[in-house]
Amino acid sequence: MIKAILIFNNHGKPRLSKFYQPYSEDTQQQIIRETFHLVSKRDENVCNFLEGGLLIGGSDNKLIYRHYATLYFVFCVDSSESELGILDLIQRFPRSSCTWRKPGLNFHVSFPTGVTKVFVETLDKCFENVCELDLIFHVDKVHNILAEMVMGGMVLETNMNEIVTQIDAQNKLEKSEAGLAGAPARAVSAVKNMNLPEIPRNINIGDISIKVPNLPSFK
């Protein structure tokens, strides 16, 4: 089973941490630190498997990780999981090549494999070319996506389309709930997004002529 899923950046700051076994908060932070320590020492051209640290359970456990530009995706698994399978889960090979396009984070993902594949590819689909900033600001979304893939430490679903469909349905549900209470908010954002200079200067409807004053943009 999968014991933990961790995402952290090149400096060890956690971007997502999900534990499938009860650990105290202190232990959790220690595990994150220790894992970062182990994984950051690895070179670029080595295999994606590491023996686990002492905290997360000793000789039976492995760390399977992938490094993308500024992020490490680490799955801590025990010996009952297939190593190559988990790699596939982390990222699925996309039909179009997956590029992380925010400035400064350009890189190409080559030879992606395993469970890691499915995860990153799904993130890519949900966020439209996901990058680290997306993960930072939408941690809860990432949790939701992960919950559709891995449940209770076991792989639940690997069909990307199903996962994405579910996520979309749930998001729609949330939006519809915001409903009436959200109306003022929507009005505000509509006004903010209005581009005043683009409005025609003269509105001529029949014999009514309205002169629109020269207004600066609201933004």
Binding site: G114, F137, G153, E157, T158
Partner: protein, 803 residues
Amino acid sequence: MEISGGEEGAEFGGPRGERMLVPSLKVQDLIEEIRGAKTQAQEREVIQKECAHIRASFRDGDPLHRHRQLAKLLYVHMLGYPAHFGQMECLKLIASPRFTDKRVGYLGAMLLLDERQDAHLLITNSIKNDLSQGTQAVQGLALCTLSTMGSAEMCRDLATEVEKLLLQPSPYVRKKAVLTAVHMIRKVPELSTVFLPPCAQLLHERHHGILLGTITLIMELCERSPAALKHFRKVVPQLVQILRTLLTTGYSTEHSISGVSDPFLQVQILRLLRILGRNHEESSETMNDLLAQVATNTDTSRNAGNAVLFETVLTILDIRSAAGLRVLAVNILGRFLLNSDKNIRYVALTSLLRLVQSDHSAVQRHRPTVVECLQEPDTSLSRRALELSLALVNSSNVRAMTQELQGFLQSCPTDLRADCASGILLAAERYAPTKRWHIDTILRVLTTAGAHVRDDAVANLTQLIGGAQELHAYSVRRLYCALAEDISQQPLVQVAAWCIGEYGDLLLEGSCEEIEPLQVEEEEVLALLERVLQSHMSLPATRGYALTALMKLSTRLRGDNNRIRQVVSIYGSCLDVELQQRAVEYDTLFRKYDHMRAAILEKMPLVERGGPQVDEEAKESKEARLLEAAPVPTEPQASKLLDLLDLLDGPSEDAQHPRPLDPSPGGALVHLLDLPCAPPPAAPIPNLKVFEREGLQLSLSFVRPPETPALLLITVTATNTSGGDVTHFICQAAVPKSFQLQLQAPSGDTVPAQGGLPMTQLLRILNPNKAPLRLKLRLTYTHFGQSVQEIFEVNNLPVETWQ
């Protein structure tokens, strides 16, 4: 992508910095602020302020924005800050009817609550309601939370709900319910009975998610109960069919990865087949064809194919498969070893390690490739290669393999050194072709990685050298050269010091055919040992070795001993107590007991490997304590045994003189004979009358306690039917070398006349090798005014005493 939770109307116009009325930050804004903090202290400040706000908001009980507050709290929790005050809010959010609230609430429950806190039980009711009445999405949330943090109590309470959901029409809910069932069984094994029946039906599903979950469930059930395992063997044909369909169906874009249809499901099925086919001929046969098909037809150009192929190989090797198939499987692994992808090589090495016990010869064929992997810069790979290489060493390849491993030892990373060194030493001990090679190997390991060897390496090597008489000259020369080069590797220095001390005379003789002639002067040797003594790198134990070696050389060298005497007297005032004691004793030896010096510092007898009698350190300490012993120390019974054995050699001069272990040819007692291996019978052993003279009778009774089969208790009973008392009665016993004898104190030394109270004495004999028992008794007593001494061997010992 829109920001969830809606934008907050109340924030309109309130810039981030102001904290006027009740402005609460959106999650994203909080994150921005935290990222804006330049130092850790600043970050902590921001978070503390925000947490205070959150706490206030929780107290005020604002239902509209509770989910947002909790979301912020969860973010802060991920960074490592305390968030326990949000636990109750999770409950409230879960109980709310809105999906938004529930989503965040359940996420909070998974992150903040766990089975160690009592609060977690409070959500059981909400989960129950959601499971039975919620929409699909809500049911999904509830199941997800239950499977992540559900404790045993919760699982017991909610088992029926989950069971009902297994038969629901929606595949989304069903697949989640199946995996939740797996979790429940892990927590409460008794629930297996609840979840076993639906499995058969679930296997007929076509939805891959449900199938995946069902197979996981079946695996969990089979691993927990052999009855379930037997039950599920029936579905092997069905599984084979499903797998076949997966393989032959055309390309399905939904589930396929790189052209392989749903590799995850394939891998799970193969794993279940492995569990079901293990040790079961019939099931294994059903799978054979399919496995062969997968093994030969899977496309290995992509990782997904490789994952499936690996599982297939592991399955083939674990079940009772045909021999040809096994060979195919090992060859596939061998091919993977040559793959350029490091991940594949890693998995191949791991799999081969699992096989090395059962299919040793097949794995041996790939030995050269494995040895090449030792050179990998990647530590994960080289560690696996090291383990596998050590497992592959056998008597025919030990020389070549040791060569490779020694090369590896020189360049390997520090964390692998200890394992490598001890592995080489172990392999050398098991398969050494000659003693000289063995000594050379250990020497090389000590030179390369002396700091990383185990503590007993020194003792082993000294024992080894001590036992190989023909190699004494060779060893001492080599060790001397090694020591002259480098005195920092402690184990090496210790062994070298001991060796030089023992065989210093051979060192100075100058000729040895196995090594180039070496001219060594006495002064050089002494200088070297002095250097070791004085070096700050030497441990106290090492210094002890060096000092004793110097002392021994005083008898081996031909020159005068002034230099040695000087050193010894200097160390008489050393701060280290052990060294000081030794130095003082040796000094006394020089001054007062010079006549005994040669005898005490004599060469050690040949050591037998594995013998319990001789221990290097024990010998050293015995020699050191000699001088404090009183002239006639109280000897334990065992030394009377020495006297007994030495009877034929004449009286020994010094009671504690270490006696030669190889007894003289006229030795009374015999060495080990063949070992019988019949189990000891439980029947009582008949008594034996062994001696009779003038009314004094001696009889033996035997007891073998059932819990210690190697132990034999003999009670010697002496009875006197004559008219005169028997006084000063002493009975001694001797047994062959392989036995251990202990005589306990007799009940008395007088056997009164006329059938008075018999005297008894207990003998304990330990016979670990189950060798035939031979017993010799010696009696001395006074009877009718005459002193009598009798020595005889006990004949007709019953077989049960030693078998």
